[in-house]
């Protein structure tokens, strides 16, 4: 992927291309912004531009050996660091430090992309800090985070911070059409409810049965939950608590759902709903709750999502949520 082919984030992309063109890339960047907004995609495209042997106007040429290696994840000077289990451990950061002290393999630069960098352990973060103080020439570190507040301030202060804003629904829909084969009505719906984060929309479209199938399953879990017994609530939680990604997707859809109930309760019309196509059902469900109850439910879901992102035990967090929701009626 070239920087020029990315949708949205125009200002950031202009700045990155200028840095490549003028050979003035910083030694450390922090790409901050919501999950799924395009930080990693941009980082990899930036990496390609930095490693390309024939860059064109600050962007990768897309044809040379380096570009093709980056595309196939085979470039020896582009390193990706992702959490091992729940965190990025000191051993992983030490390995990065070792690689940084080696000369580049193929060209003049080494690029390191640290995904979910806020999940570094305290030890790992302190270890990385030392490198950020005096990185060898030719090293570009890109830290990625959707929870930058969880990073050490001393780390942030050594990075050039680029903050990614949510895209417009039209931009999300362009991306969805390019990378998925979701049907038009699903694209339209997903681009509205993805919160401007194409990564989320793509993930929802990629689930079994597409978004509509997924939504159906989630609505079955949510329907009548406020009247369910504790045993019933735990049983429903078990369906999505086995896997963190599944749980996060479920929470995402729950949030949209309860927001729709709230909006419907307040406006009584389908115009502002995410799930506009389900207006009659939403209208009916909305009457079961009071406004205060819905606000509390939404808050609970948001809290659960945040604790999952901060790596609280998934099963525990989801069971707690479902039990609280069961008591909400």
């Amino acid at each position: 992927m070239k920087l020029a082919d990315l949708t949205g984030h125009e200002e950031i992309i202009r700045a990155l291309r200028r840095a490549v063109e003028q050979n003035r890339a910083s030694h450390a960047y922090l790409f901050a912004g919501p999950e799924g907004v395009g930080k990693t995609t941009t980082a990899l495209a930036f990496g390609a531009a930095l490693l390309c042997r024939n860059p064109e106007q600050g962007d990768a040429c897309g044809r040379c050996r380096d570009c093709r290696q980056v595309a196939a994840r085979n470039h020896p000077d582009l390193h990706r660091l992702v959490p091992e289990g729940a965190s990025i451990k000191i051993g992983q950061v030490r390995e990065v430090l070792r690689l940084i002290t080696l000369s580049p393999f193929q060209g003049q630069r080494q690029v390191f992309v640290v995904e979910q960098s806020d999940l570094m352990t305290q030890e790992a973060a302190n270890c990385l800090l030392k490198t950020l103080e005096e990185p060898p020439a030719g090293t570009v570190l890109i830290l990625i985070s959707d929870r930058p507040h969880a990073l050490l301030p001393t780390i942030i202060s050594r990075c050039q911070v680029l903050t990614f804003q949510p895209l417009l629904p039209e931009q999300v829909s362009v991306i969805l059409k390019r990378v998925t084969d979701a049907p038009d009505e699903e694209v339209e719906l997903l681009s509205r409810l993805s919160g401007g984060c194409p990564g989320r929309a793509v993930r929802l479209a990629g689930t079994e049965g597409g978004y509509f199938g997924l939504r159906q399953r989630m609505l079955e879990l949510a329907a009548g939950l406020n009247r369910a017994s504790l045993a019933e609530a735990l049983q429903r939680a078990a369906a999505v608590a086995g896997d963190k990604e599944d749980a996060l997707t479920c929470l995402e859809l729950f949030l949209l759902w309860y927001r729709d109930l709230l909006v419907c309760k307040e406006t009584g019309t389908p115009e502002l709903l995410f799930n506009r196509d389900l207006f009659p059902l939403i209208d009916r469900e909305a009457r079961i709750y009071s406004r205060g109850q819905l606000l509390r439910v939404i808050k609970e879901i948001e809290k659960t999502r945040d604790s999952l992102l901060a790596n609280v035990n998934t099963r525990l967090a989801m069971e707690m949520l479902f039990m609280r929701l069961a008591g909400a009626g």
Binding site: R65, R68, Q69, A72, R73, N74, H75, P76, H79, R80, R94, L97, R98, T101, L102, S103, P104, F105, Q106, P136
Partner: protein, 369 residues
């Protein structure tokens, strides 16, 4: 790509390169071996990017070409084939190969050769020639002193330095230091120095033969290359400044002795058996005409007196037994010159009558009772 090769030749080449291949590399293409046929030679390359090993063998070529084949299949597969001519055939543009042996065939999927990391070609680096057995011994004499502490990368490497006719290796973990010089036949115009990871030099030592045939060493900006007729090893370099090691080598001594290496080594090893758990230090007492190696702990005591010429003041000094044994083993000489600068400062070990090598060892603190 189409060629015929014998099983032993293929196995030889696969064994040589597979040490550099990691089946769990995050780069898919590096989980394989690069096969490249040019002229009547097959070049096999394995790499973890830090260490790259290339071995070439003679084959009967029908068409030139290249492909990357996953190590987890190709290595075991070739090993299990019968010892009859083996043909490799890959259709241009495809990424699989058909291997024919007798009337049987097997096909393996691989990767595009274009995806394989390409070493910068050797162009302007400084090249020297050293007999393989010499290099192997030189490496053995310094590698023991390389540090394993990844937090201080330059110490995990060996300094390789060429100046005029002198080729020098230095390693130190800051507790000990080993330095070996070798006199080159040809003089080098530009002095060069590079820090090479100890790990990859260990492989160089393993792969070089016990032969006087020369190996050529080329130091480039980012890599060191070691090559013989059928083997090429490339190592990435460690960036950074090697510490000024020369100023820590003492020039004046208060005591010096000359003893039989074997006797000191055996005495040290026996004495260490009684040393305290967790603090394996051995006492050396230099007195008139002898060196006494001793240990006294709750377990008991041992005292061995080794006769030898002692010059200078009598001295008591403690050494870590393992460090002392390793230094003695690396000495490669029947007789040892041990030169001391004081009970708490560095000692120098030299092979008697050979000033091309020295190692330096810091003493240990005397054990508290």
């Amino acid at each position: 790509m189409k060629f015929n090769a014998s099983k032993p030749a293929l196995m030889h080449a696969i064994n040589a390169v597979q040490k550099a291949v990691s089946p769990r590399s995050p780069l898919p293409v590096l989980t394989g071996i690069l096969f490249e046929v040019t002229g009547n030679r097959l070049y096999l390359t394995g790499s973890d990017t830090e260490l790259t090993i290339q071995c070439n063998i003679e084959v009967e070529t029908e068409t030139e070409g290249a492909i990357v084949l996953p190590i987890r299949y190709i290595s075991d597969l070739v090993r299990s084939l019968p010892d009859i001519p083996i043909q490799f055939n890959s259709i241009p543009g495809s990424t699989s190969v058909i291997i024919t042996y007798g009337t049987s065939q097997v096909s393996i999927h691989g990767y595009e050769p274009e995806q394989y990391p390409r070493l910068p070609s050797i162009n302007r680096g400084t090249g020297i020639q050293v007999p393989q057995d010499e290099l192997k011994e030189m490496l053995r004499q310094v590698l023991f002193a390389v540090s394993n502490d990844e937090t201080r990368p330059v110490f995990t490497g060996v300094l390789m330095q060429v100046d005029g006719k002198q080729f020098r290796l230095v390693a130190t973990d800051t507790y000990r230091l080993a330095m070996k010089n070798y006199q080159l036949e040809e003089e080098i115009e530009q002095p060069v120095r590079a820090i090479i990871p100890g790990k990859t030099l260990g492989e160089v030592a393993r792969l070089t033969g016990n032969t006087e045939e020369k190996i050529s060493i080329i130091l480039e900006e980012n890599h060191a290359f070691f090559s013989t007729a059928d083997l090429k090893i490339a190592s990435r370099l460690i960036a950074g400044q090697y510490p000024p090691y020369e100023q820590v080598i003492p020039r004046e001594f208060v005591t010096r002795t000359r003893v039989t290496t074997r006797e000191i080594m055996d005495a040290t090893e026996r004495a260490s058996l009684l040393a305290r758990d967790g603090y394996p230090v051995v006492k050396f007492t230099l007195q008139e005409n002898s060196c006494v190696v001793s240990v006294q702990t709750q377990a008991g005591w041992i005292r061995e007196e080794i006769s030898g010429l002692v010059e200078g003041e009598p001295l008591e000094i403690w050494f870590n037994a393992r460090y002392m044994s390793e230094s003695l083993r690396a000495l490669n000489s029947d007789e040892l010159c041990l030169e001391l600068t004081g009970p708490l400062s560095a000692a120098v070990l030299r092979p008697a009558g050979d000033d091309s090598y020295l190692s330096l060892l810091l003493p240990a603190k005397p054990p508290k009772d």
